[in-house]
């Protein structure tokens, strides 16, 4: 709100002092000096990012843009404001130094009073936010509200608390943040418009919303618990994915083996029966001889293998006592066969 004066030091006209004897020159000199001083106070420049409100005898005349402008001293008053500039207001924190790595101060005196607020479920949250605004109408900005910046600061705190007070702690901390920003922006805008204070809100940005320091640990514990839960579930799923495919593989194996058995069994049966049928074919041609031959061949093969062979006449009925069979048979798997022989 600096005055738009551009003042230059008055220039002395040396000519007028050189001839003090000539009174004409004295008046002329005074006149020139007055003119120079007058003109130097009559022009003012408005910078590129500014506008100026011109008053004549306290009455609003016009708003002018950047450039060199004329005013009549005493009669005109000029109020200059930066209309293109974005103003910044911080709540709950202060930027200590800005740049590549800005540092913020969250602990300045009165920080808690700005940031600590009640949520709708009567929990506490610390909210830090930034509001960016612009002067939209310089005339309204200068003429309607005495301390526009203070009005913005107060209204924005009131509105933020009202909106946060209508939300749960979860919404404030996590899910509802964009919605809060939007609502706060609209409501502050409405209120400031109703005051006609000539500014417009550009951005409302929640910089950080935290649970109070004293309960932070409990909130972190919740996050940790979520991770523990997810890990337990993932481990179990992992086990499942390991065990079930293996079991399916095993099942396939068992079935395939059974199928293998089936093939083998049928082939064997066919082989056996084909062999039998081939023999049968020949047997039919010479039944008696073949039968006899098969029998004798078998006997010839098996009899030499036996350890002992006893031949007993039919009439001899009790020979067993003579043979020391018991000791021979004891503990052995020998087979005692009695045959009628082949027919």
């Amino acid at each position: 709100m600096a005055n738009g004066y551009e003042s230059r030091p008055p220039e002395f006209n040396l000519d007028s002092i050189n001839w003090p004897s000539n009174k004409k020159y004295i008046f002329l000199g005074i006149g020139i000096i007055a003119l120079i001083i007058g003109t130097s106070f009559s022009y003012f420049t408005v910078n590129a990012n500014q506008e100026a409100v011109i008053l004549r005898f306290g009455r609003y005349i016009e708003t002018v843009g950047p450039g060199l402008h004329f005013r009549v001293p005493i009669i005109n008053k000029v109020l200059v404001g930066e209309v293109k500039r974005i103003y910044n207001e911080e709540f709950g924190f202060r930027t200590r130094s800005s740049g590549k790595t800005s540092t913020f101060d969250y602990d300045f005196p009165g920080a808690q009073e700005e940031s600590l607020m009640l949520t709708g479920d009567l929990n506490c949250a610390e909210v830090h936010w930034v509001i960016r605004y612009k002067i939209m109408n310089l005339k309204d900005f200068f003429f309607n509200v005495r301390d526009v910046k203070e009005a913005l600061r107060q209204v924005s705190q009131g509105v933020m608390r009202k909106i946060v007070g209508d939300r749960s702690i979860d919404e404030v901390l996590t899910v509802g943040r964009t919605e809060i920003e939007d609502k706060v922006k609209i409501e502050i805008g409405d209120k400031l418009d109703s005051y006609n204070c000539g500014i417009s809100i550009q951005v409302v940005m929640l910089k950080g919303v935290n649970p109070p320091q004293a309960v932070k640990e409990a909130f972190n514990a919740v996050n940790q618990a979520v991770q523990i839960r997810d890990r337990i579930i993932n481990d179990a799923e992992g086990q499942k994915n390991k065990i079930l495919p293996a079991a399916l593989g095993k099942k396939e194996q068992v079935i395939k083996e059974a199928e293998g058995y089936q093939i083998k069994r049928i082939n064997q049966a066919q082989g056996d029966t084909n062999a039998f049928l081939a023999i049968l074919e020949e047997y039919k041609k010479a039944q008696d001889v073949t039968r006899r031959r098969l029998y004798l061949e078998t006997m010839a093969e098996i009899l030499p293998k036996c350890e002992k062979l006893y031949l007993i006449d039919e009439k001899q009925k009790s020979i067993l006592p003579f043979l020391n069979l018991g000791s021979k048979l004891q503990g052995s798997e020998s087979k005692l066969l009695e045959t009628e022989g082949a027919k």
Binding site: Y60, A225, V226, I255, L309
Partner: protein, 319 residues
């Protein structure tokens, strides 16, 4: 000398003129309004900007703010209807709408602020203490959203119906505080903002304890939820395992049974043509397989094999 005298006279005349003009002309800025007084008695008010005149020395001009003025209240501790001890801080905007009345009743802006100190603070106390805490904290009956179902249900139980909410209560405070403000003081409230409502600092540790226990309860719930789901997964894996294994067993047995049946059928088809020859062959085969070097064989001489042992004639020795 003559000229010097003339100059002095001119200077005196100019100074006198300036003083006279200064005393009789005044500018009212667009941001101000004025009351002209004569020996302390108000004679005229001007609310429109411009250049005005008055009687010099006799009349005086009192300037007042025409723009909206801010009022900042002190925090006050109030007990709500549900006996919660809270700290409320309000802020307001006001303006002088009748400079004459304002001048006669109060005289200066700071006295106007003093009037508001009393009026607004007592309205705030009256209204806040008449309502439950939630009525002042909440603005509407909007449903609170939570990230967990359990919390949402817990909050539903605690939920109270908000009759008015903070916005309307702020308006009520403004209406109550505005009463008689214009008639008595020529002032008008533009807005009353409840800047903050908080528990008084002695209660805050208890609030923090509550928040902490609430969160730890959720944390425990998450963990046990994980355990529950784990058990469920393990159970379903076991079930699935049994199903897969038994299915495999069943199928394998079926296949093998079928195989055996087919084999039996094949054998039967072949052997039923000459069962006798089959048993003959099979018996011979059995001999081959069962006799070994530990076998003791006792045979009657009547057998076919020994037919020629006692006689070689073509005739059967028996017959």
């Amino acid at each position: 000398m003559k000229i010097q005298g003339a100059i002095i006279t001119t200077i005196i005349a100019i100074v006198a003129l300036i003083v006279f003009i200064k005393g009789s002309l005044y500018v009212v800025d667009v941001r101000e309004q004025i009351v002209v007084t004569q020996f302390g008695k108000p004679v005229r008010t001007v609310t429109q900007p411009g250049l005005y005149s008055k009687i010099p020395f006799i009349q005086n001009v009192k300037y007042f703010e025409k723009r909206t003025i801010e009022w900042d209240g002190e925090s006050s501790d109030i007990l709500t209807r549900d006996k919660e001890n809270i700290e409320v801080n309000t802020w307001a905007l006001w303006k002088i709408i009748d400079p004459l009345r304002f001048y006669t009743a109060l005289g200066a802006e700071y006295r106007g602020q003093g009037v508001l100190d009393e009026i607004i603070e007592s309205s705030v106390k009256n209204i806040v203490s008449a309502y439950m805490l939630k009525e002042i904290v909440r603005d509407t009956n909007r449903k609170l959203v939570y990230t967990t179902k359990e919390l949402e249900e817990a909050e539903m139980i605690k939920a109270v119906f908000i009759e008015k909410g903070r916005g309307i209560l702020a308006e009520e405070i403004m209406i109550a505080a505005s009463q008689g403000l214009e008639d008595r003081y020529g002032m008008q409230l533009v807005d009353v903002v409840i800047r903050h409502i908080n528990y008084v600092s002695s209660v805050i540790p208890k609030i923090y304890d509550r928040m902490r226990s609430e969160r730890l309860r959720i944390a425990n719930k998450y963990e046990s939820e994980g355990r529950r789901e784990e058990a469920e997964i393990i159970g379903s894996v076991k079930k699935e395992l049994e199903r897969i294994e038994s299915e495999g067993y069943k199928r394998a047995k079926e296949v093998m049974g079928e195989a055996d049946a087919q084999a039996v059928k094949i054998y039967a088809e072949a052997y039923k043509q000459t069962p006798e020859f089959y048993s003959f062959l099979k018996t011979l085969e059995t001999y081959k397989n069962t006799f070994d070097n530990r076998t003791i064989l006792i045979l009657g001489t009547k057998g076919e094999y020994f037919k020629y042992l006692q006689s070689y004639s073509e005739k059967d020795p028996e017959n």
